[in-house]
């Protein structure tokens, strides 16, 4: 395919920036997303009520949880897993007011897990600030057996569901939070290119 070609369903991520019109701010981050949170609070500390849900990860390069505690004046909730953050978010979502703004940082899989929770309450992903942090790992949906594998670093990827070798396309489904994986050797069975780490 020629240079300049890109698939429009591939999400683009930016740096978190405060939205000025808000009744409250909910910041949700995971692991290396901690640096995005710190950058955000170095812009300013907003007047409106703040909630910060952070999934701490011992393997991160810095101890973000401690720094966040010193920098963020209220509403900090540190959890020890992504799932705990998602559970808390789900429990607290009914309490947030119309006009609440959401900010998400972390791995791509985490970002779209959060957006799936928000979607239940009608929050559209284009209205959510998103910053990709720490890893380019992808979730890959096998179009043949419908298994989604998380933390995929390589194309070609062997599907954990059906064992087929999948070429990872840039075509992304927001509903599934995953890229499409398509059998790479369907036309010539056994002709499988070497796998390369392109999503470190």
């Amino acid at each position: 395919m020629e240079r300049g070609y890109w698939i429009r369903s591939k999400p683009l991520y930016d740096s978190l920036v405060w939205k000025q019109k808000a009744t409250g701010h909910v910041v949700i981050a995971q692991g290396e997303g901690g640096i995005a949170v710190l950058k955000l609070f170095q812009q300013m500390c907003p007047r409106e009520p703040i909630t910060l849900l952070f999934a701490d990860d011992a393997s991160t390069s810095k101890n973000y949880a401690d720094i966040i505690h010193t920098l963020v004046p209220e509403g900090v909730q540190i959890c020890d897993s992504e799932q705990a953050v998602l559970d808390k978010l789900q429990a607290q979502l009914p309490n947030y007011l119309m006009g609440t703004q959401f900010y998400v940082a972390g791995s791509e899989a985490f970002i779209w897990d959060v957006l799936a929770e928000l979607k239940v309450y009608g929050v559209q992903d284009i209205n959510v600030e998103k910053e990709l942090s720490g890893t380019l790992a992808r979730s890959v949906y096998c179009v043949h057996c419908k298994t989604t594998d998380r933390d995929v670093h390589h194309s070609i990827h062997q599907c954990s569901g059906c064992g087929r070798h999948l070429f990872v396309r840039d075509h992304f489904s927001r509903r599934l939070g995953a890229y499409m994986g398509v059998m790479v050797d369907a036309e010539e069975p056994g002709n499988i290119p070497a796998k390369e780490e392109i999503y470190p």
């Binding site: 429009r8 369903s9 369907a186």
Partner: protein, 346 residues
């Protein structure tokens, strides 16, 4: 129109074939010697008698066999039908659109009696006789849109309109040219067209979306699209690529005329009255190279279009393995005669 419905298959032994009449009415898409994407939308308010454009929804000699092929696909993979929960009004809109169109345009085959919300639907070719209450899901054997799209040819994608965009939130897709409804469900207009090369650069999606957002009830529109398929296979889905992928490398100079099919999609768009959604039908017509070359004008035209095709489009449509073989096969039939504008066979 030939209304003797064929018993034929679109898989395994591939007994599908076109009658001479079906070839004659085939919606050959190339009016010029070169092809590039364009919006190419026109009104879909009737066409020449006997043509595929005559009625809102075309029923032809392959109707019964295509419905059977859809049944087989769904039995294997029920997720080819996807309905997001907010689309129930649109589901009933679909029931109305299909039943009213078919009973109006083919009264000998389909009959609809309405007494308030009590509807009585008879589909003779498929042997269906169903009384139900319009708007009451419990009175049909399955969801309304699944029920009715099992009784019509072509894929149907129902687009919800909100935030100045269109979202693929409901669909029956069993005969697609290599895209997945299960994967694309919920996507916006530009997202699901994401992989198409060249068209973004031409501004086609911007213009098409702007146009469709203003589509009016009672004024449906249509366009043609095309690709090529090896064997008369309807289910060229990414889901089943492992099964049809090997066919792409099975073409030889000896079998090219039989094996390679031009697959033309008649895409029609209807505004739906209750939901304000848009029904997008993608009806595929298949004709082998041998079918098409019964008309010398089509042989010449196809030879030139394939020769001039942009390499990105050839790759995207998956033609690279066999395009040159088709060109070589057609070359002796092309004397270089200048062809006037138009898609007509003669």
């Amino acid at each position: 129109m030939n209304m003797a419905f064929k018993q034929e298959t679109f898989r395994d032994d591939y007994t599908y074939h076109n009658s001479a009449e079906a070839i004659r009415r085939f919606p050959f898409p190339f009016a010029e010697d070169e092809y590039m994407y364009s919006v190419n939308i026109e009104q879909h308010n009737g066409g020449e008698p006997g043509s595929v454009f005559e009625h809102a929804i075309d029923v032809d000699e392959h109707y019964v066999a295509e419905c059977e092929d859809r049944r087989i696909v769904l039995e294997d993979d029920p997720n080819r039908y996807i309905a997001l929960p907010h689309m129930m009004d649109a589901q009933w809109d679909m029931v109305e659109l299909v039943m009213e169109s078919l009973s109006r345009d083919y009264p000998d085959l389909f009959q609809l009696t309405r007494d308030g919300d009590n509807w009585h639907w008879i589909n003779q070719p498929l042997g269906i006789d169903q009384k139900f209450v319009f708007g009451d899901e419990a009175t049909l054997p399955m969801q309304p849109c699944e029920y009715i799209t099992r009784q019509v040819q072509g894929d149907w994608i129902i687009l919800d309109q909100r935030d100045d965009d269109l979202f693929a939130d409901l669909g029956m897709v069993t005969s697609q040219a290599d895209w997945s409804m299960a994967f694309d469900a919920g996507m916006s207009f530009k997202e699901w067209h994401g992989p198409v090369p060249q068209a973004n650069e031409l501004g086609i999606f911007d213009r098409a979306l702007k146009y469709l957002l203003h589509l009016q009830y009672g004024s449906p529109v249509r366009r043609l699209n095309w690709t090529m398929t090896i064997n008369p296979r309807l289910d060229t889905s990414p889901e089943n690529y492992p099964f049809w992928g090997p066919d792409n490398v099975s073409v030889t100079p000896d079998n090219v005329g039989d094996k390679v099919h031009l697959r033309v999609e008649l895409q029609a768009l209807f505004r739906l009255p209750r939901s304000n959604a848009i029904a997008f039908s993608v009806r595929g017509y298949l004709a082998s190279i041998n079918d098409l070359t019964t008309y010398p004008r089509w042989a010449k035209r196809l030879h030139r279009v394939l020769t001039n095709l942009h390499p990105d489009l050839s790759e995207y449509k998956g033609l690279d393995n066999y395009r040159q073989m088709v060109i070589d096969h057609l070359a002796p039939m092309d004397d270089g005669e200048e062809l006037a504008l138009g898609t007509q066979p003669e």
